[in-house]
């Protein structure tokens, strides 16, 4: 069963074969490495760019304006912070030209903690991305969603951010969540599409025949039904929320867990319906907590559903510190972990005025 990196690779293969993607580029994206996380191994349209994020974003915009669907990778989102002005411009090409131009590019970048990446390989990008108008923003938590969301981003005529949770890169599809057409056996798939170690110059991948599966942008997925409280999350923290919910069910805490999947546009109808039902909202993400996208969701919730709330809506997010420290204890204390999530769910479920 495919893991997220393999799912991304297969989606990129489908995109370059059937959806006219002309360029998949960035630092170490092309041969021999095929990406810092191997997401771009064995593809035809990949190439290695100079070590220059401004050039990468600029070239992505230029290619898009010239009608070339492209996927530009920023090796870690931590290294996109010198390009925010260019990203803003990419997001306003259509608007500032009053509808004359559009900019079909996809910026793909790994986000978040979970690999002991220390101060500069653990940043989140959800707050920054949602504050840049003009982008569609996807952040999958399963390989299948990664496959389907990436394809949706690529064929979209607008600029898109495709944010890949580092911690979930090697997580495999859950049974029933496979990508149609992929071999069920992990080793078989690996033999087909994972580049061998050592000399790869003669290696050719064998791509399984996977379909055009488009996960719609703007559609959340309810991963667990529940009546006691609503938990909205995405990316690395989503599986932790689902796990906590299962564990707490025994204690009588009946949580509904929503995987937002896309941050803009986001599925407000799904969130609203759930909060109407439960009257309690917990938003979980790992970006630093001050001026955090979760706070937008809470603001919208109180402005539209205030009188239906049975408890104060909560945010569980990253600590407001300059970075995620390297040592185990430091990373654990900086971003939400299973225990803290369970604790927050328990408290919110039990909260009485």
């Amino acid at each position: 069963m495919a893991n997220m990196v393999q799912a991304i690779r297969m989606a990129l293969h489908v995109a370059e074969e059937r959806h006219q993607v002309t360029d998949i580029f960035g630092e170490d994206v092309g041969p021999p490495l095929g990406g810092a996380f191997t997401a771009t191994q064995g593809l035809k349209k990949t190439w290695n760019s100079p070590l220059d994020e401004r050039g990468i974003v600029g070239a992505s915009i230029g290619l898009a304006l010239a009608g070339c669907r492209n996927v530009a990778e920023i090796q870690f989102c931590d290294y996109a912070f010198n390009t925010i002005d260019l990203l803003k411009l990419g997001g306003m090409m259509h608007w500032s030209s009053n509808g004359d131009w559009n900019c079909p590019m996809t910026i793909m970048t790994p986000v978040g903690s979970g690999i002991r990446g220390s101060i500069y390989h653990s940043h989140s990008f959800d707050t920054t991305a949602t504050h840049i108008p003009g982008y569609k923003i996807a952040i999958p938590s399963t390989p299948r969603d990664a496959y389907g969301l990436l394809l949706s981003c690529i064929v979209d005529p607008n600029p898109c951010f495709f944010l890949v949770p580092k911690a979930l890169m090697r997580v495999r599809c859950a049974p029933g969540e496979e990508i149609p057409g992929e071999p069920g056996d992990d080793r078989a798939l690996s033999k087909m599409i994972d580049a061998p170690l050592g000399d790869r110059s003669k290696w050719q991948p064998q791509w399984p025949d996977t379909p055009d599966l488009f996960v719609p942008i703007g559609e959340a997925k309810t991963v667990r039904q529940g009546a006691g409280l609503t938990v909205v999350s995405y990316g690395r923290t989503l599986p932790l929320c689902a796990k906590a919910a299962e564990a707490l069910a025994g204690e009588g805490v009946d949580a509904e867990v929503i995987d937002l999947r896309t941050l803009w546009p986001y599925d407000w109808e799904a969130v609203k319906a759930s909060v109407r039902k439960t009257g309690r909202l917990l938003v979980v993400n790992e970006d630093t907590e001050v001026t955090n996208f979760g706070e937008h969701l809470i603001r919208r919730t109180v402005s539209e559903l205030f009188y239906e709330l049975q408890a104060a809506p909560r945010l569980l997010a990253g600590a407001h510190v300059p970075g995620v420290g390297l040592a185990d204890n430091l990373e654990m204390a900086s971003v939400p972990q299973l225990q803290g999530i369970s604790q927050a769910m328990r408290e919110l479920a039990a909260e009485q005025p």
Partner: protein
């Protein structure tokens, strides 16, 4: 979608320019000077909030516009301009009234619908990508369109323009690095219009380079610094540089030294600078000496365009402003316009 390919004039650097071409250039220089004067007047009359433009750069910008392969798509030239290229747009065939519309930010402004400053052109049908205020970012985007053109083949090239002070931004270096990669050199004409100023800051104290164009040398990029106040020199040098880029599919860095005739922008008063050479005066003197122009004809030409733009101003003055509700229009596109949808 496609437009006629304008012939690429093949002029040797010392070649003579035809009388017809000289006259065409002169007329366009007058026209764009008058346009800028009108825009400044509009600003001073309160018919617009901000003026910025290219008076003093006509001798370079007009030939540039005449030499551009104008059209839509990779077989034509992509233009990544900054805010001083009005003369280029006129030479490409733009109607000056549209510049007035952007100045007055009317709903009818074809470049931004009243959203952006004057001089911030954008025209997909001619590959003019949206001009944006942040200095130098166009140099980071230009390699993208050039990449597409390199792959497509043909003679289409990417042209990027900007000022001298802006070359201090990293984006200028990004363009040098990306267009000269041995793995894939790009058909990119990098232009720097050096007016020796960045707003109030003189170039003297800021540039260790003798010529800005010297920065191309380390990358093996062909480069040259020319007198941008002379339209004949400009025409020949731009033509030669373009010829190289179109056929060799390699980059060229062209620096044009020229004048800033009305200061930086309306923020600095938009008053006539008396210590700067006026390319139009100089060119007219030459044409008169060569008996290709007489004062009377020149005055009539100027009067003609002054009149034309006065009328245009009157028309624009009464055109409606965009409605506040339209701010939400065109945030997302439903069509892939650049890929031929609609």
């Amino acid at each position: 979608m496609s437009t006629q390919l304008s012939p690429v004039p093949n002029v040797a650097p010392d070649g003579e320019l035809s009388t017809e071409l000289l006259k065409r250039m002169h007329e366009l220089m007058v026209k764009s000077r008058v346009l800028e004067e009108r825009l400044i007047q509009m600003y001073k009359q309160g018919d617009g909030y901000f003026w910025i433009g290219g008076p003093g750069e006509e001798a370079f910008n007009v030939p540039l516009g005449l030499l551009i392969q104008k059209g839509q798509g990779v077989q034509f030239d992509y233009c990544h301009f900054h805010y001083r290229n009005s003369g280029t747009l006129l030479a490409m065939g733009a109607d000056p009234i549209d510049a007035l519309r952007q100045m007055k930010n009317t709903a009818s402004d074809p470049y931004s619908g009243g959203r952006n400053f004057c001089g911030h052109y954008s025209l997909r049908k001619w590959n003019v990508v949206p001009v944006s205020s942040p200095i130098e970012v166009q140099y980071s985007m230009a390699p993208g369109t050039a990449l597409a053109q390199k792959r497509a083949g043909g003679t289409g090239i990417t042209i990027v323009t900007g000022g001298d002070a802006g070359t201090a931004e990293g984006d200028f270096a990004t363009c040098l690095v990306w267009c000269s990669r041995p793995a894939n050199p790009l058909p990119l004409l990098m232009i720097v219009t050096n007016n020796k100023w960045g707003i109030s800051t003189s170039a003297d104290g800021q540039h260790g380079e003798k010529n800005v164009s010297d920065r191309g040398k380390a990358f093996g990029i062909r480069c040259k610094t020319i007198d941008g106040n002379d339209p004949e020199v400009s025409y020949r040098e731009i033509a030669a540089a373009m010829e190289y880029v179109r056929t060799e599919r390699k980059p060229f860095l062209l620096e044009a030294v020229l004048s800033r005739l009305y200061g930086h922008s309306s923020a600095s008063g938009a008053n006539r600078a008396l210590d700067e050479a006026d390319c139009l005066v100089g060119f007219e003197k030459k044409l008169e000496q060569r008996k290709l122009l007489d004062r009377k004809a020149a005055d009539e030409l100027r009067a003609h365009y002054t009149q034309e733009l006065q009328e245009a101003h009157r028309r624009v003055h009464v055109e409606p402003q965009p409605d506040g509700k339209t701010i939400y229009d065109h945030i997302f596109s439903t069509k892939d316009l650049v890929r031929g949808e609609g």
